[in-house]
């Protein structure tokens, strides 16, 4: 079965515009979504090695570079000058396909559509922890908005 999500690229004009906008609102939104999941569906204990690390999610076609860290109170956007510990880059379509479990991360990596730079161990932890979330078992317990693939 081919992925249901069609191939698309965010138009260059949109990316150019988004790239000039402040990155705080989308970074806040991503951190907020992660925090909603943290402790509920994402096991905090397993993600502990992420504590204090700078993670950069680059949505290459959308001009977005979202930088955040995991602290005692959950994920928060960070704008300091410390180097990134982990950088993950892909297009919006491919990030969505990963989130929806329509694409395998290694498939995207082999096809050069996903780039993971920095601390590979942290990257594997993030990828494998997300893969291990049993959405089917959690669905009844989830909040009514968002976080529900499929």
């Amino acid at each position: 079965m081919e992925p249901k999500l069609p191939a698309f690229i965010v138009p260059g004009r949109v990316a150019a515009l988004v790239g000039r906008l402040p990155q705080l609102p989308p970074a806040l939104a991503l951190a907020g979504a992660l925090n909603l999941a943290l402790g509920r569906v994402l096991p905090r204990e397993q993600l502990e090695p992420l504590a204090g690390k700078r993670l950069l999610v680059r949505v290459t076609d959308a001009g977005l570079a979202l930088r955040f860290a995991l602290g005692a109170n959950g994920f928060r956007p960070v704008f300091d000058r410390q180097p990134d510990d982990l950088r993950i880059s892909a297009t919006l379509r491919d990030f969505l396909a990963l989130a929806l479990r329509e694409e395998d991360a290694d498939t995207l990596f082999f096809g050069r559509r996903l780039l993971m730079e920095g601390d590979t161990e942290l990257g594997l932890l993030v990828k494998n922890t997300l893969d291990a979330v049993d959405w089917a078992a959690l669905r009844p317990a989830l909040p009514r908005v968002g976080l529900r693939p499929g």
Binding site: M1, E102, D106, G111, L115, E117, T120, N128
Partner: protein, 333 residues
């Protein structure tokens, strides 16, 4: 006897996906060095294992536990505890490589089925029969170095069921004995359960291309339009003489779909799909294709031809530039 489809799972969702997509068996590992896919965040803790076994058994599927690395005297108890866990959790078979562990399993849990792992590196029926006589091995997973004619010879001379790799990433295939990763990192898949463990791997996009390093050693540099492979030493490009090339092997995937009629005719018991390190998406995609193919070959026999759509789907998820029939197909022999 129909061929069993044996699929990989590195997480509970992957196991459920495999079962739902038609796997007869799912093979899994624990969260430690007792298995050869010991990657951070991957594999099953006790709770996930119990849930996975319950899910599979309720749907008529089996769960196999890979305990296919080699214990040492200082961590022996961890491996025997894993065998105990398998027995307690109702695992259908353990996949073992170490003869000492086989002996422990036979003596402590005689009714627990024992399979010989590919990591055991047994390529002759003499070796397989030895494991059968000494440790009651009921199935052997053959290393991917034999031609189909050789596989047929093995099957003809052993009472042990034979499981063949059908699809997935290939390596240099010195299984159970490969020290390439240890050469660069001090850790081998045989004892530590991972080839090029994540903590030693670094990728970086540079002006010259995407560079892959293992413990600081540059092992490959990919141009923008080149497909990538796993960062293992056997798949690196190295300077040899005046040339830089894949001196050991190019990143390649095994795909034996077109050999399925021959595999079925010679009495292979099971086809194994590689890839416990991969996501539920891959497990679902590959399991669905192979389920359809195995069902079709049971009806069509030698008239079987794989669908073009199946081959496209498998090529899409493959590692490296190309797919191969591996050693199975040697028409010149």
């Amino acid at each position: 006897m129909a061929i069993e489809l044996v699929c990989p799972a590195g997480s509970l969702p992957a196991l459920k996906t495999a079962v739902d997509a038609g796997a007869d068996c799912v093979y899994v590992g624990l969260r430690d060095a007792t298995n050869a896919r010991n990657f951070t965040g991957l594999n099953f803790d006790d709770r996930a294992l119990a849930d996975g076994v319950a899910y599979a058994h309720a749907r008529g599927a089996k769960v196999l536990l890979a305990l296919n690395t080699y214990p040492r005297s200082d961590n022996w108890a961890r491996w025997t505890a894993a065998v105990d866990t398998a027995a307690e959790r109702g695992i259908d078979a353990v996949i073992l490589a170490d003869p000492g562990l086989m002996r422990y399993a036979l003596r402590t849990h005689p009714s627990l089925r024992r399979h010989l792992s590919v990591q055991g590196s047994a390529t002759s029926y003499e070796a397989i029969n030895f494991y059968h006589e000494q440790f009651g091995i009921q199935r052997a997973v053959l290393p991917r170095v034999l031609s189909l004619a050789q596989v047929e010879q093995v099957i003809a001379h052993t009472p042990v069921e034979i499981e063949l790799f059908g699809f997935g990433g290939l390596c240099v295939m010195v299984e159970g004995r490969c020290a390439l990763s240890a050469y660069a990192t001090g850790e081998s898949p045989n004892c530590n359960g991972a080839c090029s463990p994540g903590k030693y791997v670094r990728w970086e996009q540079t002006a010259a291309g995407m560079e892959a390093r293992v413990n600081g050693i540059l092992i490959d540099r990919f141009a923008a339009d080149e497909r990538a492979g796993y960062p293992t030493l056997c798949k690196g490009r190295f300077a040899v003489g005046s040339e830089t090339y894949y001196a050991i092997e190019e990143p390649t995937s095994l795909n034996t779909l077109e050999l399925l009629p021959e595999i079925a005719r010679m009495g292979v018991a099971a086809i194994k799909i590689e890839g416990r390190q991969r996501s539920p998406a891959y497990v679902g995609q590959v399991t669905r294709v192979w389920r359809q193919a195995i069902d079709r070959v049971a009806h069509e026999g030698d008239r079987f031809r794989p669908d073009a759509a199946w081959l496209r789907e498998l090529a899409r998820v493959s590692e490296g530039q190309s797919q191969t029939l591996g050693a199975y197909h040697r028409p010149w022999k």
